[in-house]
Symmetry: C2
Subunit: 332 residues, 2 copies
Amino acid sequence: MDGTGRRATIRDVARLAGVSTATVSQVLNGGRPVAAATRARTLEVIAELGYRPNIFGRGLRTRRSHLVGVVLPDLSNPFYPTLVRGVQDRLGSSGYHAVVCNTDGDPGQERELVAELMDREVDGLVVVHFTLKPKDFSGITGRGVPLVVIGRPRGFDHVYTNDFRASAAMTTYLLEVGYTSVAHIAGPVGIGPAGPRCAGYRAAMRQHGLSSSMAPVVHSDFSMTGGAKALVELLERGIMPRAIFCANDLMALGAIEAAQARGLRVPEDLAVAGFDDIYVASLVRPALTTVGHAAAALGNTAAGLLLDRIGGASGPPFDVEIDFELRKRQSA
Amino acid sequence: MDGTGRRATIRDVARLAGVSTATVSQVLNGGRPVAAATRARTLEVIAELGYRPNIFGRGLRTRRSHLVGVVLPDLSNPFYPTLVRGVQDRLGSSGYHAVVCNTDGDPGQERELVAELMDREVDGLVVVHFTLKPKDFSGITGRGVPLVVIGRPRGFDHVYTNDFRASAAMTTYLLEVGYTSVAHIAGPVGIGPAGPRCAGYRAAMRQHGLSSSMAPVVHSDFSMTGGAKALVELLERGIMPRAIFCANDLMALGAIEAAQARGLRVPEDLAVAGFDDIYVASLVRPALTTVGHAAAALGNTAAGLLLDRIGGASGPPFDVEIDFELRKRQSA
DNA sequence: TTGAAAGCGCTAACAA
DNA sequence: TTGTTAGCGCTTTCAA
């Protein structure tokens, strides 16, 4: 590459090294034996010319982009950047890179982004909280592009947190630590982990003899303002629980802020627990009691499974459960 | 696309529509007139077949990937996800997608990632806190791939916060509000915005008659543990300022935690200010006094400039300064 | 307004 | 151990 002229191609290398383009390709990609002297000479010319294979030419032949798509709700929710770093760190120097897209929780967006990424010829896809069903998806892809879902199992390879059990555990903790009434601020109906987290809460309440009329649920969206609104709605309905379990940390943070704004002390008047253990959870005061499930591990594992599939692994869907842990802090 | 067979190509479309591949291409990309009837028939077949242009074939001809690279220090620092969303939102439905990479503040990584992205044939590059010089860079690319730098100007298109002025303003604020001694916890020497932020601090100190012996600086890295360590180092050196200005919010958070762990009250015993106004800054207690400069706007603007250049805009380097604002909260 | 055909850069099948 | 060559799917020039 001389800085001004056109970029060197494999033919330039072949010509200068006095070999065929096939040999240059073999030197680069392995696959068949090349004489040491030939290899050395070729590498020399490659270095001299600063030759880099053109990705389009290569892709056109190999149908590999060395790109994976990552589709998630919203990079602004601090849970996801951590997850993405998990993916990126696993991809590392494998030659793969990640294209990250936000759905903002909209299934239509999700469908469209998956389609765009398929058009991009990504070699694999990581989707967080997939809402599409296998049949929708098969309609989209039509080919065997590996897909790993982070979240609810739906017949794909997936890695997930057991939202149901984790939510039940947190609810049980709140009840057993002495909060006689516990409400739940849930995510939007049918979106991501909202369902199983809500179900886990309800199951734990039932198990403690609290019928659904004693287990108030407000749906809202997974943001701070969502949490704040939900708290207000709860109070306006005349419901004043001793504790609130929120479906994620952002909501919990919003609920705490709204509660404090109305003169309620946390946790004395109202205890609040969250879900995710985003890193702020331990920084705010009161520090947030929440469910920890390693975002980085989710991303890391998902990327690992994806690379396995891309590498040709076959067999039944992978199914990896990531541990969770109750982080008992000050807010509840 | 029939779900099992191979994917439809432009030739399949041409055959079925009874036109040439050239016409199909024109229908898709415009550029020359196509008879209404021909166009309609072609579009029909395209829809029927679910035809999607292959990106490699197209790229091989057009040398466009419709991909932009984003190189930044670390997605785990909450400042950057916001910036990335700014980029993504600006790219929006333009057909461009972003490949995001972390340098972890290492110039070697930066060089390598830029090279990898160039190999990927990205149509443009956004780099945050570029450490390479124009000549290093020209050696890497050798071609006119547009580059927008977020951070220190170096002869590229760039969008930036005036770190020097902002830091001086914050330091001045601390001094004028009554803190008689102010120390600075700086970033790693020569990395990102560490230099100008430190210089701004020093200039303001000088302007208030405080020589460099009265303006202690500790270098550390841009993380919470970095901030905590730096605070400890300061104390162990026997320096106990009334206030500390940290080069970013994570450091400030770490410093506050370390200070509190040593029994110091913030801000009564020690005031702490940060830089970035990451969204946690307003959530922690005491809420962090910091410099706000809109991360999303930085990303958004950079992506906009990049698209302009990709679209063919020529002329001297763009040079956009993003406003900053002192966010005076409880910690100082 | 349309078609034929060259060719982007690469890999891999086949031949030597 | 190496070379020749077809062809991946597309855009675009040239010709009609």
